[in-house]
């Protein structure tokens, strides 16, 4: 009974591990399938049986997308606007979250409730108002116009506040004893101590901005100002059989963020781990 139980426990553990790995593979399969399909010629794509690897792998769809469109320009637009959204949102949220968490000022709690409430408003419903606003400001077809309405992500402030709340107040006091000004306390103590969460939030914010479609679509009327998600729809064809080409477009739109995530993954998970600060 003795060794048997130990072994049984081990076997249960092993089974759970195997199940997890299998689930992960199934989970990610659509991603694989999309990539593989995009490497097949169209007529191979629609074969009535499962073909896990192309018979005749082809990059023709990629060549098409990369040469027949202004995709390079779209990437630049996406990178610039998503980066701007990320930097501006994360920094303004950081400052605001810090002030709400650490400083006393009038209307603090009212601001906090407003921010919580804004998390509950579906941003899509404001899009027309945003459009009028941006048009009034003369920012249609500009990077600023694409960026401006995306600058509100209440969640980021909420998370920042939680993290700043979690920093032991000793550090603040130590810095005060060290004659540090408020600005230096923020920039030299609180921000560096929260690099992890900042990375995580930046990546998430970048993902959100990169993936937004409806707003950049409305805000841009020139091909050379389109972001990748908007531009890539030109690769699609309303007619004919173009599964592979559409999937290629999808892969091209998603790839840079996927790569960025994989590069930064370690820091994201570390940050999240540090966030044991999330209290109930």
């Amino acid at each position: 009974m003795t060794a048997a139980t130990a072994r049984r426990l081990n076997i249960i553990g092993l089974v759970i591990t195997v199940i997890t790995v299998l689930c992960a593979v199934v989970w990610a399969f659509p991603l694989y399938w999309a990539v593989v399909s995009s490497l097949k010629p169209e007529d191979e794509v629609v074969r009535p049986y499962i073909e896990l690897w192309p018979d005749t792998p082809t990059l023709s769809h990629y060549v098409f997308a990369l040469t027949k469109t202004e995709i390079g320009r779209w990437y630049i637009n996406s990178i610039v606007t998503a980066a701007a959204v990320t930097i501006l949102t994360v920094s303004s949220s950081l400052f605001c979250g810090y002030a709400i968490s650490q400083l006393k000022f009038p209307f603090r709690s009212m601001l906090w409730w407003l921010i919580l409430a804004s998390f509950m408003v579906p941003m899509q419903t404001l899009i027309i108002n945003h459009f009028e606003l941006v048009a009034d400001l003369g920012l249609i077809n500009t990077w600023s116009g694409i960026v401006l309405p995306q600058l509100i992500h209440p969640v980021i402030i909420i998370v920042y506040k939680q993290f700043f709340d979690g920093v032991p107040k000793d550090f603040r006091e130590a810095a005060v004893m060290d004659n540090a000004s408020e600005w230096r306390i923020l920039t030299r103590v609180y921000i560096p101590m929260n690099w992890g969460v900042t990375t995580a939030l930046s990546i998430v914010c970048f993902i959100w901005s990169w993936n937004s479609f409806l707003w950049p679509f409305l805000a841009v009327t020139k091909t050379n100002m389109m972001t990748i998600t908007v531009g890539i729809t030109q690769v699609n064809d309303a007619f004919g059989v173009y599964y592979a080409r559409q999937l290629t477009a999808a892969v091209l739109a998603g790839l840079p963020v996927a790569l960025a995530y994989l590069i930064f993954q370690r820091r994201v998970t570390e940050a999240i781990t540090l966030s044991a600060g999330i209290k109930g």
Binding site: L103, Y243, A253
Partner: protein, 294 residues
């Protein structure tokens, strides 16, 4: 602490100023405008005449609005709790792994989160394509009747629900992992010495200790699923949009397809109120049940 009140206030105001400026410009102002438009018969864009509460009162007898409310509720029902549980289960599985394997598996589970919704749509539309979708080939192999997933009302919401869970679980998984890692190993060792089996360890230790995180994830999920739109819109075009309509989609239809900005705004306001009410309820609920389980 001895503080210089005036300096602190000034500094705080300087810090919040950029945010408040943007916030006022792109959130507060448009929201107020939205409220005001909801009392007019404005088109998608431009001015309209004041019509009082007409836009609200007619919602009561609006069949599509009803459908939208129920569909939204149904969608919340089938995604929020299952999505949270699935993410929890995955986090438990991933948490057992170590080193590179853990990183790799976590990446596989997280990657869908980074995709734009249009890509998610393409992927799944393709995977579940009635003629050529790989899932249908699998069904054939298993001897199951093929299912026109996005064209039948019975399957539509569950399918979009599953896809939504697939798409958004990554974020919840990260939160759960954080929570799991915060539970000291010694608690589990104590439980092992206390003869607790896998199940009772989970039920009596892990679950209650994770409750705060679970409540957090539930809240985030609840709020975002109430605001569901893109997936439903994309998957239902050409299919049965009016049967699958959800609240934000209905706003979209009214605004963009019917050119009725005023009526759309009214629906948006109602949705906003629903979200607030439900969040407050949810908050009380999780606090109550949290109080019970701790």
């Amino acid at each position: 602490m001895l503080r210089n009140r005036r300096r602190e206030t000034l500094f705080a105001l300087a810090l919040v100023a950029p945010f408040v400026a943007i916030y006022g410009l792109v959130f507060v102002y448009p929201t107020i405008k939205l409220f005001m438009i909801s009392f007019t018969d404005a088109p998608l864009i431009g001015e309209g005449n004041y019509v009082g509460f007409d836009n609200y009162t007619r919602l009561a007898s609006d069949r599509r609005f009803n459908t939208a409310v129920w569909n939204t509720a149904y969608f919340v029902l089938i995604t929020v709790v299952p999505g949270t549980l699935i993410a929890f289960a995955i986090a438990l599985g991933v948490n057992r792994l170590i080193g590179r394997l853990q990183a790799a598996i976590l990446a596989l589970f997280f990657l869908p989160y980074i995709l734009p919704v249009s890509v998610v749509y393409l992927l799944w539309d393709w995977t579940l394509n009635f003629q050529f979708g790989i899932a249908m080939h699998v069904f054939d192999l298993l001897g199951i009747q093929r299912i026109p997933v996005f064209k039948s009302t019975a399957w539509f919401m569950p399918a979009v629900g599953v896809i939504t869970i697939w798409w958004t679980a990554g974020f919840s998984i990260l939160l759960f992992l954080a929570g799991l890692r915060a539970i000291p190993a010694e608690i589990y060792e104590a439980a092992a010495l206390d003869n607790a089996g896998i199940w009772s360890t989970f039920r009596r230790i892990t679950w209650p200790l994770m409750w705060p995180i679970t409540a957090l994830v539930l809240t985030i999920q609840l709020i975002s699923q109430l605001k569901i739109f893109d997936q439903v819109y994309l998957f239902s075009t050409g299919g049965r949009p009016n049967d699958n309509v959800v609240l934000v989609y209905y706003v979209f239809q009214r605004a963009f397809q019917s050119d009725q900005g005023g009526r759309a705004a009214a629906v948006a306001v109602v949705l906003f109120i629903i979200v607030i009410v439900v969040s407050v309820l949810n908050f009380q609920l999780t606090r109550l049940s949290g109080g019970r389980s701790r």
